[in-house]
C-alpha cells in the first residue's frame, strides 16, 4: 500500500511535469514542469531504496542500530538535487535573456523568431 502510494506519487509528479513541458506555452511554466519532473524522479529513486523497519544509514559510534535502508540511492538523490538546482539556475538565466532579446516568453513565438532569424542568415 505504502509502495503503491509512493510509486504513484512519483509517477504523478513526472506526468504533471511532462504536461507542463509539453502542453503549456509559457517558458516559465515549462521550467516549473522541469522542476516538478525532477522531484518525481528523486522520490522514485529514494523509495526504491527503502526497507520496512530499516533505520536511517547513520551508525551510532560505529555500530548499526539495526537493519539499514539502502544508502546508495540516497547518495544518488543527493547528487541529483544539487545538480537540479544548477540546471534550474541556468534555465532561469536563459529565460531572463530570452525575455530581453525577444520581448516574449511564449515558446512558440520564440521558436518562430529563431527560425526567421536563421532563415535570414542562410539566404
Amino acid at each position: 500500500m505504502t509502495g503503491t502510494l509512493l510509486y504513484g506519487g512519483a509517477i504523478g509528479l513526472v506526468i504533471i511535469g511532462l504536461y507542463a513541458i509539453v502542453a503549456r506555452r509559457h517558458l516559465m511554466r515549462n521550467i516549473f514542469g522541469l522542476a516538478v519532473m525532477e522531484s518525481g524522479v528523486n522520490l522514485l529513486l529514494a523509495s526504491v531504496g527503502y526497507r520496512p523497519g530499516g533505520h536511517a544509514p547513520i551508525l551510532v559510534a560505529g555500530a548499526a542500530p539495526g537493519p539499514l535502508v539502502d544508502p546508495i540511492p540516497q547518495a544518488l538523490v543527493l547528487t541529483a538535487i544539487v545538480i537540479g538546482f544548477g540546471v534550474l539556475a541556468l534555465a532561469l538565466a536563459l529565460v531572463v535573456r530570452v525575455r530581453q532579446a525577444y520581448g516574449t516568453l511564449d515558446n512558440r513565438a520564440v521558436a518562430r523568431r529563431l527560425r526567421a532569424e536563421n532563415g535570414e542568415a542562410r539566404s
Binding site: T2, L18, V48, L59, A75, V82, L92, A93
Partner: protein, 247 residues
Amino acid sequence: MKSAGGYAPARIRGHERNHGKTVASVLFLGGLGLMLFELISAVPFGSAPMQVGQAIAGEAFARTGADNIVTAILLGYRGLDTLGEVTILFTAAAAAGMVLAGAGRGEAQGQEAGFIFRTAAWMLFPFLLVLGAYIIIHGHLTPGGGFQGGAILAAAFFTPLLASPASPFNHRVAILVEGFAGLVFVVIGLAGLAKGAFLTQLLGTGTPGALLSAGSLPVLYVAIGLKVGSELAGLMARVFGEGSARS
C-alpha cells in the same frame, strides 16, 4: 460528452481551438503514466534486489571511519563523482553568470525592505552561519554535510542582500573562496595518489564517533561546503541583479 476534434460550434476561435489538443495530451500522458506505473510495479517495494548497498553499508565504517554512510559513499567510494558534480555546479553558475553578464538591471529596481525584515535579516545572519558551519563540520557523523550546509551558508549571505539591496555583495571574495575550496579538494585528491589512487582516504579512520575522525573526509566536505556556498550565493546575487556592477 465533449468531442475531441474541437467541432463544438462557435468555439473555433482563439484559445478554445486548442481544446482537442489538450484532451489528447491529457489522454496521452495518462496512458504514459499507467505504463510507467506498470513497469515500476515490477520492482517490489521494500525488498528491491540491490545487494551492493547492503555490502557497502556493512563495510563502509571499517574502511572510512564515517558514521554517516551516505557521506562515506559520496566522498569515500565515489569522491571522483562528487568532484564532477561540484564541477557541474560550477559550470552552471559560470554559464548563468555569463548569460546574465550583459543583461543589465532588472525591470523592477530593488528597493529597501521594511524595518522588520531588515533587522531580522541581520539578526539571522550569525545563527545561519553557525548552523551552516555545524552541518558541514558534522557531515561525517550526523545527517547533512557540505551540500546542505553550503546551501544554508549561501542563504546566510544572501538574506541581508535581499533585505537591503544597496549593501555590497563582493563577487571577488566569493570567487576566491570558491577557487581555494576547489584547489583544496583537488590537492587532497592528488595527495591520495601517494597512497595508491586519486582521492584515496588519508590520515586513517580515527576514533569512532569523534569529531576529528574519518581521516580526510571532513576536510573534503568542508571544501565542498565552502565551494557550494560561495557558488550558490554568487549565483543568487547575479540573478538578483545587485552588486554585479562592482564585481
